[in-house]
């Protein structure tokens, strides 16, 4: 029972982490390796807002920090990525460099040690199906499902959301219909970064705000996306559940030491067996003439 409950929560955590990465990749075709850095930035900004600056109330600090992260994402595209659009290797190098600069900059700026924490939204815990689980993890589960729903509605019924999907499928065909590809890419980076921030605000209260978490988050995001198939939404969620449960099982029967190994091993196995991932873009919808 414990495995089931914690497995589900852990899977939702992973998909929250990976969601922003997938979104940016599927729409702007940018593998955003600054994802983990944006995650930590949000946590640190929220911490600063609450403790160093005026002492904002928690909800305000949350909204503000997610907003700032989304803006950073948009600016990264507007001033850096826009020049190297379409060259994957350059995009990886640039975003990875930005990520390193942010993370190491934060470390240099004083983000060291275990003193940086965000409080849980609601302290305490309760029993579900005989398993003791804290409220924060329950909120994560609920918020995760809520965000999936919102994203689904946004991309299927909103004008801008539909335009994003058009660009994701055929950029030039979408342009011919009046959709501005640079604007949609900026929007997707803002939303993707915002999602990284959203995940950070939910997840960081479970631990400390440390620079290393930024790297871990990036590895998990990449692992989930590689296994699910880059740019595939269904694949991302399915892969989150596979890795999520695999991690909980290893934690239970081996040691929590090996959870990171699970993710890395999963990448290696996927690349060996099915390099395009579970739902990777196959050629099955080849054009018909």
């Amino acid at each position: 029972m414990e495995i089931l409950v914690y497995g589900i929560i852990n899977s939702i955590i992973l998909s929250l982490i990976a969601l922003g990465f997938t979104l940016v990749y599927s729409i702007a075709r940018v593998p955003n390796f600054a994802h983990g850095a944006l995650y930590i930035t949000t946590g640190y900004t929220a911490w600063l807002c609450m403790n160093k600056l005026v002492g904002f109330p928690y909800p305000l600090a949350i909204v503000l920090s997610i907003g700032i992260t989304a803006a950073i994402g948009a600016l990264i595209y507007r001033f850096i990525l826009i020049r190297i659009r379409g060259m994957e290797i350059s995009e990886i190098i640039a975003t990875y460099a930005i990520g390193l600069a942010i993370l190491e900059g934060l470390r240099w700026g004083g983000l060291r040690g275990m003193t940086f924490t965000l409080p849980p939204f609601v302290p305490g815990s309760m029993d579900i199906l005989g398993v003791n689980i804290d409220y924060q993890r329950l909120i994560i589960g609920g918020a995760g499902i809520l965000i999936f729903l919102l994203l689904y509605l946004f991309t299927h019924f909103n004008r801008v959301g539909l335009a994003l999907r058009g660009i994701a499928q055929d950029e030039r065909a979408a342009m011919m219909l009046g959709i501005d590809s640079d604007m949609t890419a900026i929007a997707s980076l803002a939303i993707g970064s915002g999602l990284a921030g959203f995940a950070a605000i939910l997840l960081l209260p479970l631990g400390n705000i440390i620079v290393e978490a930024g790297y871990n988050v990036l590895i998990f995001a990449v692992a989930v996306c590689v296994i699910g198939g880059l740019g595939s939404w269904g694949g991302t969620i399915l892969a989150s559940f596979i890795i999520g449960f695999a991690q909980i099982l290893t934690e239970r029967f081996l040691s929590s030491h090996y959870t990171m190994v699970v993710a890395l091993l999963a990448i290696v196995i996927t690349l060996l067996v099915k390099p395009s991932g579970i739902f990777g873009k196959q050629k099955e919808l080849e054009e018909r003439v």
Binding site: R83, I84, R85, G86, M87, H156, R159, L162, A163, R165, G166, Q169, D170, R172, A173, A174, M175, M176, L177, G178, I179, D180, S181, L285, E287, R288, V289
Partner: protein
Amino acid sequence: MFEARELMVFYENMLALNNVSLECEAGRIVGVFGSNSAGKSTLMYVLSGIMLDIKNKEEMRGGERISVYGRIFLNGEDVTALKPHQMAKRGIILCPERRRIFAESSVLENLKIGAYLSTRSQTRENIDYVLDLFPRLKDHLKRQGGFLSGGEQQMLAIGRALMANPQILLLDEPLLGLSPAYQEIVINGTKKIRDAKGISVIITEQYARPVFPIIDYAYILENGSSVLAGTREELIDNPDVKSAYFGV
């Protein structure tokens, strides 16, 4: 009035369009005929502004050097340097060669994505219009675009372009790979669009016969140059045209 003056396009040193001028008065259907590599698609890309995007991307990658010369006017306004989405906003909509349907979205979603520039009420109206024009699409509204047959995809592509409220509709080889029955549906649909909405249409094809009944004026391209132009009546009697584009 849509007008292109002295268009020249080079891919590196290769001349793809050589001094092509073209006019399309409001509410006319203009045909552009030519064999493979005559420059039809290049012309369409230039007219819709897509060529600028191709050129910029190639430049950024250090790929092929593309040079574009000439001017394009829409109702007297110089639109040569506009980006594709700005062209689309002014009503110049390209329905590209090989259709380029959004394969993973349903038919209805394809239409809705096409309606990016429209208001909500326009969207509803246009969806009704498109389904009226191509009733076959009604049966497949929830189906993924990629699973439609070629003919249905072509109807969807034209419908999607109509969702963007075109003033000038550019159809690049809309009959490619279609059975004669579907060709007729597409051609009749094109005529209806012009008759009902007064939309100007520029249509390219390799083979002129199926399109000829509905055009008002036509240009013949050969190796990037416009070798012949005239009204339907003028061209139909020309022996060269007959042999090359009617297979007579």
